[in-house]
């Protein structure tokens, strides 16, 4: 950090935070703890309340209920300019009448810092913009403006840095580049980052903790791998990556839950199951599924869950092959197979058996409906392929 002063980093705690706009609850009873110095990603579909949450933390919106703590301090009642929080706005919001240097120096000057030059120069170096210090924002590219916005916030050494989809306007290549840069800056300065995005890959690669938000509530929160490997709701299973979901009924419980679905039996370790009643949805990620010719079923390890079907689509994508397999009950199961397997790939119309380990299976509460979170996931895929 410019100045090189060691300083304490504070965690961010939101307690029962609620924001009501007229009849709609934009944020509904949100409780989050983002540990000091961590990179926290808030992931969710459009309109789920991410921006509203950040605005409440920044002090630009008053919560209807709830509290915001930074470290031990309750900042709920503090005005925006009194909070040790800075924001990188989605639209950057750089001051058009000030040059880059003055934009970056703005926060320091408002706090009465006398000699800002060294700090501004240092932070501009960090974001590699020293050469452009005297330009106006309108004369910079999108990526450069984005870095100015980050520098302008970071120079104040806030306890918490809020980033509201700062990379949304960038093309894919620049976005990847900025992700790496942001992550580097974060580990360098050690500030608590709260990063809002609806790019799930971005959230997964950058964050220590991701929180998946839906309609003003947190659906699930945890380490990216943990949330991906063991989704706890159908929304998360569908929204974060892709999932195959099959509806069934519990047959027996114990350490392993046995499920009967469409005349087949499936096994799930009971700690991977959250369905409370008899009715259950079992899920598996596409890359966990092995695709074998029906004659080779014996090659499947014993105890694997299995489904029989017919290949209706094969697409070779280089690193993997994607299969669509239709089951006798008319459901399409999607499976990704790495192209490291020696031998023939299955072909269109082949009868196949799909197998996966019970440890890769998860059990979900069917109450939400099988399509929860699906529209968004489809949109996400589409926008990714476009980019």
């Amino acid at each position: 950090m410019p100045g090189g002063v060691a300083r304490k980093v504070e965690d961010l705690r939101l307690v029962n935070l609620t924001k009501q706009f007229g009849g709609t609850k934009a944020v509904d009873d949100l409780s989050i703890t983002s540990p000091a110095g961590s990179f926290f990603a808030l992931l969710g579909a459009s309109g789920c309340g991410k921006t509203t949450t950040l605005r409440m933390v920044a002090g630009l919106e008053d919560p209807t209920h709830g509290q915001i703590f930074i470290g031990d301090q309750d900042v709920t009642e503090l005005r925006a300019f009194q909070r040790p929080v800075n924001t990188v706005f989605q639209s950057y919001a750089l001051f058009p009448h000030l040059d880059i240097f003055e934009n970056v120096a703005f926060g320091l000057r408002r706090r009465g810092v006398k000699d800002v030059d060294d700090q501004v120069i240092a932070i501009l170096e960090l974001v590699e913009l020293s050469a452009l210090a005297r330009r106006k924002p309108s004369q910079l590219s999108g990526g450069q403006q984005q870095r100015v916005a980050v520098a302008r916030a970071l120079i104040n050494q806030p306890d918490v840095l809020l980033l509201d989809e700062p990379l949304g306007a960038l093309d894919l290549k620049l976005r990847r580049q900025m992700q790496i840069e942001l992550k580097r800056i974060q580990s360098e300065v050690g500030t608590t980052f709260v990063h809002v995005t609806h790019d799930q890959e971005e959230a997964m690669t950058m964050a220590d903790t991701v929180a998946v938000m839906n309609a003003g509530r947190i659906e699930q929160m945890g380490h990216p791998a943990e949330v991906y490997e063991l989704p706890r709701t159908i929304f998360v299973a569908n929204f974060l990556g892709q999932s195959n979901l099959i509806q069934g009924m519990k047959v027996s419980t114990g350490d392993v839950v046995e499920v009967s679905a469409n005349g087949l039996g499936f096994r799930i370790p009971s700690k991977r199951n959250v369905a409370p009643g008899q009715s259950i949805v079992i899920g598996v990620r596409p890359e966990k599924i092995m695709v074998l010719d029906a004659h080779d079923e014996s090659k499947l390890p014993a105890g694997h869950n299995r489904i029989y079907g017919t290949v209706t689509d094969v697409s070779y994508t280089g690193v993997s092959t994607q299969y669509l397999v239709e089951t006798p009950w008319g459901q399409s199961i999607i499976a990704f197979e790495q192209n490291s397997i020696v031998g023939d790939r299955c072909e269109l119309g082949d009868p196949v058996v799909l197998g996966w380990a019970p440890e890769h299976t998860f059990g979900l509460d069917p109450a939400e409906g099988l399509n929860a979170g699906l529209d968004h996931a489809v949109l996400e895929l589409e926008s990714d392929t476009e980019a």
Partner: protein, 265 residues
């Protein structure tokens, strides 16, 4: 055909420019005339008399100064009031806001002759003595409309994120206004003030009704037109034109310098 297409726009531009500037050129040219008769209408001989003795004709300079003074004072008051009204209209929700919004347009929409005569009726009814004060009151009234409209447009066009960003960066409400809001609205205010001054300076109808014995520059010219306009009026008018030109050119020059200094970096 191709030739026509390529040169048509240029040709039209030249015609339009001529159309715009020929009258001004004539005014300037005739400021160097030494008219034969009282009427400065036909070219006689070159002379610098009108420029060397620019106040040589009784009343012309005092009328000019009066108009400049009235213009400056009216513009100052109207700009301050109009800016405040614009902020109130955009930033606050109060009773009567939408009707205020509408009423603000009235002076712009009302024919000057109606406004001038009704103001006169008002002043006479109140037995308010006509003079510089009544003229300024009238001018402030119609300049305010232009200021409010210009500043309002500027404020509404401003990204609300900018003020939020300022608050987020430790700027108190007053600092936010001083360092972000005001500088961003300033070009609108200045533009409105410039327009307001020129409207006031050149207003004849409303001033004429409410001036009493006061003689503004337009009123002087109107009076002189009966007897013959002296070339001094042309000289003063040329001065005004040159002043306007200097303002525009220096604004352009500043912008150009900025661009150039940036491209060098």
């Amino acid at each position: 055909m191709r030739w026509i297409r390529q040169h048509l726009i240029g040709a039209i531009a030249i015609v339009v420019l001529l159309y715009l500037f020929l009258p001004i050129a004539v005014v300037i040219a005739f400021s160097f005339n030494n008219p034969e008769s009282k009427f400065n209408l036909s070219w006689n001989e070159f002379s610098l008399d009108a420029w060397t003795q620019i106040c040589g004709v009784p009343g012309v300079c005092s009328a000019f100064v009066t108009s400049v003074e009235i213009g400056l004072i009216s513009t100052l008051f109207a700009t301050i009031l109009g800016t405040m009204i614009a902020f109130a209209l955009v930033r606050y929700r109060f009773k009567g806001r939408s009707s205020t919004n509408l009423l603000i347009f009235m002076p712009m929409a009302t024919p000057e002759i109606v406004m001038g005569s009704s103001l006169l009726a008002l002043f006479l009814n109140l037995s308010f003595p006509l003079g510089p004060v009544t003229v300024m009151i009238a001018h402030i009234m119609f300049i305010i409309s232009f200021v409010v409209v210009a500043v309002k447009a500027r404020l509404q066009g401003m990204d609300p994120r900018l003020e939020e960003a300022a608050r987020d960066l430790y700027a108190s409400p007053s600092a936010t206004f001083r360092y972000v809001t005001f500088p961003l609205v300033l070009p609108g205010i200045l533009g409105a003030a410039l327009l307001g001054f020129s409207l006031s300076f050149d207003d004849f109808i409303i001033s004429f009704f409410n001036a009493g014995t006061l003689v503004t520059f337009p009123i002087y010219i109107w009076g002189a037109a009966q007897r013959g306009i002296p070339p001094q009026v042309n000289a003063l008018a040329s001065l005004v034109f040159i002043a306007a030109l200097v303002i525009v050119l220096s604004a352009q020059f500043v912008a150009w310098r900025k661009r150039k200094s940036l491209s060098v970096r």
